[in-house]
Amino acid sequence: MLPYFVAILIIAAIYVLLALGLNLQFGLTGLINFGHVGFFCIGAYTAALLGQAGVPWPLTFLVGAALAAIAAWPLGLVSLKLKDDYFAIVSLGFSEIVRIIVTSEQWLTKGVQGLTGIPKLMGFLGTGLSQALAVLGILVAVNVLAGLAKLRIVRSPFGRMLEAIRDNEEGVKALGKDPAGFKIQVLMLGAALAGIAGGFYAHYIGYIVPEQFIPLVTFYVWMAIIIGGVGSISGAVAGTLILMVFLEGSRFLRDIVPFVSEVDMASIRLGAIGLALVLFILYRPQGLMGDYSTR
């Protein structure tokens, strides 16, 4: 049972990292990023390819994060000068384009067959519980660092300007400061976090295929931050854990509830999450941990 819990916690921690990235983008800056999974995918494939080529793991993560951030830059440049809703659509399109590219560029990504044999993180510890615990430990440390980085941003002149932009964008322009510039920087940082999350995913699971990077991943992250509370770090953590417990826990429900097939159960799960989301938005729009503002 323990290895199973650790495995779930590792996936949850990867999602928390994704949620922290989105939390910076949406919670702090108001960017409606519907393409988060695209950056996750770039990070995962970069880390996987470099890992297969024998590059050591801290480096594969960093390159993955850098490439994800670099991919975010032109995206922000073309779309953030427009209204927020345009960015939502453009970013969704972006993540689908990324997925289609990794599906079709077979010479590099092996297409739908995917990449296998990606070196396991902390592989020298074998494949047992100690390896999993070590991975979890590193993930928690990276999450803590990401959380600290967010706090530093909130309390900085940069964070002050983000809040000013949320309050009144025209007022910011009138002072000679470009709101789009600030948004692009946040977009790139959030993308880098998603890229690191992708690196962990690839090195933990050991194989990746394009099907793992569908928009549903983005929306899981959105669900997590909406349930937990969009502005707060604790919200990102709580929301993700609740989502994971529910997604995993409902697998066992099938053993208890009779006359429900596996396929039915998958649909019921999604329906229940949707219902929970609607109820949260209706009755607790600030999320479990509350508080949109972060100061």
Binding site: A149, R152, I153, S156, P157, F158, R160, M161, E163, A164, R166, D167, N168, E170, G171, V172, K173, A174, L175, G176, K177, D178, F182, Q185, V186, M188, L189, S293, R295
Partner: protein
């Protein structure tokens, strides 16, 4: 900083909202534009500062045509506007509002937060001292920690003036700085403007209300239905028959 408008025009459909307006704000001068509601005064400000693109005509700053510069670049070059309805950063305190306006802060680049925290701290201290002086000057020190959304209309106007000053602007465009402000505070704001002007800062001021403005400006322009209908010294302009008709809403 010398501002010149030449034939500045904005047409919506077939309706000219601003119609061939030409005027000058010599460096260090205070120039006023009055006119009834809907005369196109605020639109004129938006054209000058690049919030709206002009249909025709030119804006020159120190002799250079700035028509292709963005709003942000125009503000950076030293010409900053305020708004008729103040655009305070409502969730920030008065102090934070002013600090946010300081130009060229290293702490506004994400990467610097992690690479040069020491430099950011020392810059913040310097900006903070500057803000202390500004709060003193505007007599807002007692509400420094108040969120801007809780300020009165007049205090918000003062705060916007303060923010414009924090940017280091040499030419400030004030959009109805006295509207909805109580008489005591009006004199306060007017005094601050005189004091700043004696330090060399130029002003272009739009006002609906005449009283305080005419005592402040050296040149007064009157706008009606998008056009300048009179220009000159305040006393002279106010004696003008056409102006009186426009203001009394009479038919000409």
């Amino acid at each position: 900083m010398n501002l010149e408008l030449e034939g500045l025009t904005k047409v919506y459909g077939v309706l000219p909202v601003v119609n061939h307006v030409s005027l000058k704000v010599p460096a260090g001068d205070i120039v006023g534009v009055i006119g009834p509601n809907g005369a196109g005064k605020s639109t004129l400000f938006s054209l000058i500062t690049g919030f709206i693109d002009a249909s025709e005509g030119q804006v020159r700053l120190d002799g250079k045509v700035i028509g292709t510069l963005s709003t942000v670049d125009r503000a950076r070059s030293g010409m900053v506007r305020t708004f008729q309805v103040p655009r305070e950063f409502s969730h920030l305190t008065v102090r934070q509002n002013l600090m946010a306006a300081a130009p060229k802060q290293s702490g506004e680049r994400l990467i610097n937060l992690f690479l040069r925290p020491g430099r950011i701290r020392s810059e913040e201290r310097a900006v903070s001292r500057e803000v202390d002086a500004m709060l003193e000057f505007l007599k807002l020190s007692h509400i420094a920690q108040t969120p801007a959304e809780r300020l009165s209309g007049g205090q918000k106007k003062l705060l916007e003036l303060g923010r414009a000053l924090m940017t280091g602007a040499q030419l400030i465009l004030l959009d109805e700085p006295f509207a909805g402000v109580n008489p005591v505070l009006i004199e306060e704001i007017a005094d601050r403007i005189r004091e700043l002007n004696s330090g060399g800062i130029g002003f272009l001021i739009i006002e609906h209300d005449l009283g305080a403005l005419t005592r402040l400006v050296t040149t007064l322009h009157v706008m009606d239905r998008g056009r300048l209908i009179a220009s000159g010294e305040p006393a002279e302009v106010l004696a003008n028959k056409v102006v009186r008709e426009a203001y009394l809403g009479g038919t000409s």
